[in-house]
Structures are given as structure tokens and as C-alpha cells.
């Protein structure tokens, strides 16, 4: 009945959905933890992956991702989203700052642990064979090693573009860099990473 009644009123459902999302956002802004969870849980995987690509340690990445959400929860009350701005962009900005602060503190403590925990992580995909799982883990290690060779700016741009698939505008909003710089950084990072991944690319062709 609702569907029938909605016929002839284009955009009504979309408006209702938008109002629901707005209500959720307002509730979350007022400190409702449940609303915050409903609104932000979908970004957990993205945020964790982004931070993991940046820091290369799963435990640390999880801790920093949680820290990112706690900060988001605290700052959400003051957030005024402009038109066209996505929550993910805002969240990645917070995550970027959290990662930078972590780098600074780690530089002071000089206790970098490297990438030894890569093999303990569960790679996504349910239909992966044991050989495929091993191959994936090896690929993870190579990718992380390659990311580690990139400087901080290129790594940030590359991760946001390739792994998080953000648009140039979003990356510019998150990083504060200009779009031409982003494109140049991305091009160089891609060339650098391609050299490392060439054997896997050929293997991928064979598979």
C-alpha cells in the first residue's frame, strides 16, 4: 500500500530515506551511541584498511582505527557537513591525523615492529583455496613492502586512490593537496608499485 501511494510522488522514498539518515545523523550528533554505530559501522572496514596500509601493523591499525572512531564520536557534535561532502571523507581526515600522530610518537619511541604480522591477517574472500590464501598473503607482504618504500605523501595518495577508491576531489579534501600534485604523486607511486608487483601481474595472467 505504501508503495502504491508513493507512485506519482517522485523522490518521496528518497526523501524519506534522507530524512531517516538525517535523523540518525542528528541523533548521533547528540551523543546517541546506537545511532553513531548505525551510521559509522559501515566505515569500519574501510577505515581499518586505510590505516593498516599506512602503518603496516594490524594491532596498531586496529587500535588507531578505534581511536579514529572515538575521535569522530567526540567531534561529531560540531560537524557541519557541507553539501556534497561525504562522511567517509571526514572520517579519513581524522584517520590521517591519527596515523600522523602515531608516526610521530613511534618515531620518538623507535619501536617499529615491521610487517611480521601480515600472515596472521584474514584476507577477504571466502572461496580462496589454500594455495590462493598463501599467494594472497605473499601478495599482502609484497604490497606492504612496496607501500613502505613510498614516501608519506605518495603512500597516502596511493592508498586513498587505489585501496579506498576515493576521487581526486575527495583526496584533495582529505590531504589538502592540489589535484595536479595528487595526479603526479599517484603516477609515480603506481610506477614504483608496478615494478614490485610485476611477477604477480604475470602470475595473475597465468591464473
Amino acid at each position: 500500500m505504501d508503495a502504491i501511494r508513493l507512485v506519482g510522488k517522485l523522490g518521496t522514498f528518497a526523501q524519506t530515506h534522507q530524512r531517516g539518515a538525517d535523523g540518525l545523523f542528528e541523533r548521533a550528533q547528540q551523543g546517541d551511541e546506537e545511532a553513531f554505530g548505525l551510521l559509522f559501522e559501515q566505515y569500519a572496514r574501510q577505515t581499518f584498511n586505510f590505516i593498516y596500509r599506512m602503518v603496516g601493523q594490524s594491532d596498531l591499525a586496529e587500535d588507531l582505527a578505534q581511536e579514529t572512531f572515538v575521535r569522530a564520536y567526540k567531534k561529531l557534535g560540531a560537524l557541519r557537513l557541507q553539501e556534497g561532502t561525504q562522511l567517509s571523507t571526514w572520517l579519513f581526515s581524522i584517520a590521517k591525523n591519527v596515523v600522523r600522530e602515531s608516526f610521530r610518537s613511534r618515531r620518538k619511541n623507535q619501536n617499529e615492529r615491521g610487517l611480521e604480522d601480515v600472515f596472521t591477517l584474514a584476507v577477504s574472500g571466502d572461496d580462496v583455496t589454500p594455495d590462493g590464501q598463501l599467494w594472497n598473503k605473499e601478495l599482502q607482504q609484497i604490497v606492504q613492502q612496496g607501500l613502505k618504500t613510498l614516501d608519506a605523501d605518495k603512500r597516502l595518495v596511493f592508498v586513498l586512490r587505489v585501496f579506498q577508491q576515493c576521487s581526486y576531489e575527495e583526496i584533495a579534501a582529505i590531504t589538502g593537496y592540489s589535484v595536479p600534485k595528487l595526479k603526479a604523486d599517484l603516477y609515480r607511486a603506481r610506477i614504483q608499485m608496478r615494478a614490485l608487483l610485476r611477477p604477480y601481474l604475470e602470475q595473475s595472467n597465468e591464473m
Binding site: 551523543g31 551511541e33 553513531f36 554505530g37 559501522e41 569500519a44 572496514r45 581499518f48 584498511n49 593498516y52 594490524s58 586496529e62 582505527a65 578505534q66 581511536e67 572512531f69 572515538v70 564520536y73 567526540k74 591477517l121 584474514a122 584476507v123 577477504s124 574472500g125 594472497n136 601478495l139 599482502q140 604490497v143 586512490r161 587505489v162 585501496f163 577508491q165 576521487s167 595526479k183 599517484l186 603506481r190 608499485m193 608496478r194 608487483l197 604477480y200 601481474l201 595473475s204 595472467n205
Partner: protein, 309 residues
Amino acid sequence: MKCNECAPLLEDLLYSNLGTTQKDLAEHLTVCDACAREYALLRKEKELYDRCDLEVAPNFWAGVQARIAGENGLHAQRFVGLFDGVRFAHMGAAFTGLIIVVGSIGLWRYLETRPGPAEFPNAPQVSVATTEQKSDAVAVTVSSKTEGSLIDKRDVSKHPLVSKPFNLKGASRAYARKIEKPLFSTDTVVERNQIFTSQRRDLDADSARHLEQVEILLRSFKNSRFLRDSNTLDLTYESRLSKDLLVRNALLRRDAELAGDVPLTRLLDQFEPFLVDIANLRDNSDSKEIRQVRESLTKAQIIAALHSF
């Protein structure tokens, strides 16, 4: 579309819809092997990177919620702590305010009930008495009501700030000598006036009013004219005013000396003999006596000193 136009758009083609450009790009990729190979490589890379996507731990969001709850608890504790602080601050403020109010009331009551200089119960009482035996003499005495006071009833002659009892005849004789030998040379007066002028300061209201009255009295006395066919002058008013001013003068001089105000003390000391002389003049003094006092007044330039002070 050419290859150099195509290359930058290949990556956009991977992640987004290029709209009308996408059709041109697709046409170019069908005819250009190099661009097609590049695009294929990008797609393979994307597939590889997509395979690197990691799963988050199942308890990840529970950890986030726990940390948020912990932050909220901490915030609540801080909030309560803030109110604790506010409560103590309020108590402190209330206590301080109470002290201020009580102090203000006490100060106000004290100022309201504080006796003036003439109202001090223990203050020395200065009186000018004209004895019947010496009807033409004025004696200034300082007495205190307080038993055992340092200034216990005594004659003004014993007080260091008050001159000896005045006697018209003695004073006249003294000023008769002073006419020959003026109290101040002109140079001295000018110097003193310069000092007074340079050291001009704010006098208290009583002193200023007193000096003004003395100046007016002396000026009035100096400018008074004898009636025609008469060598007498009615100085009843001036004589009575001089007596009043003498009393005040004694008090002010004592206060000035206690306050360490040397210039004022000297000035009060300087014109006091003239007040005594005027006070001791009879109601119908003859012109000779009056002229003597006037001349001494002119010579001493005391009016100018008063004016400049």
C-alpha cells in the same frame, strides 16, 4: 581521441563513469593496442589490490563502543568533578562575599560614626578667654578632658605649637619694634612665596578655608578707612573674627606640625601675631594703634604670602 588524451583518463575509467568521454575512450581502446594494454594492466593491478582488502576483527566495533563508553564515563566523571569544583568555588565565593559585605558594613558604620576633628572626645579643647582683669588680653588655652592625658589642661604658653598668651600692650610693643625691624625682608618674602608657589599642593578643606578667611580678614583690616573727622574705627567684627580664627589657627598649626607640613606650619605661625593684634584691638581703637598694626602687616607682606600659598 589520441593516446596522450587517453592515458590520463584510463585510471578514471577504472573507478568512475566518465559520461560522454567514456564512449570516445572505449572507441579509442578498440583501435589502440598500446592504450588497451595499459588499461588491461591497470585492471589487473586493481584486481590484485582488491584481493589485499582485509577483514576487520569481529570484535572491532565492540571495542570502539567500549572505548566510547569509557570516554563517556570519563567525561561524566570530569563533568561531576567540574561540578565539585564549582561547588567548592561557590562556597569560597560565598564566604569571600560574606567577608566583603561584613567588612563594608563595618567600614561604613565606622566612617559614619567616626568623630570629626572637633568631635574627638579626647581632643584638646582650645578656647580663647578674655579675662576681666585684663579685658584687653586674649589667652589661648589648650585643655583635655581625658584624665592622665599627655595634654592635660595647660596653658597655651606651655604648648610648643601655641604662642605665649598674648597681651595687647606687649604685642603692640613687640610690633612697634618690628616696624623698625620688619619680620621679613622683601627678599625673604619673595623667596618664601616662590617656595610656596613651587611647592603648591592640595590643602585640606579646613586649612584652605581658614587661610582664605584670614586673608580676607587681613585684607579687610588693611583696607579699612577712618571716618572723616574721627580718629576711631569700629573693629568689633574683625576683633571677634580674629579670636575665632586664632582658635582654629592653633588647631590647624598643631595638626600641620604633627603631619610634618612645615610650610603650612610656618605660614600659620607667621600671621598669628597679626590675628592676636587685631583681636586685642579695642572696639574703638585710636588711629595710632591701628596704623601700627597696618604698617607691620604691610611690611611683613603676609597677605601676599597667604595669597601665593
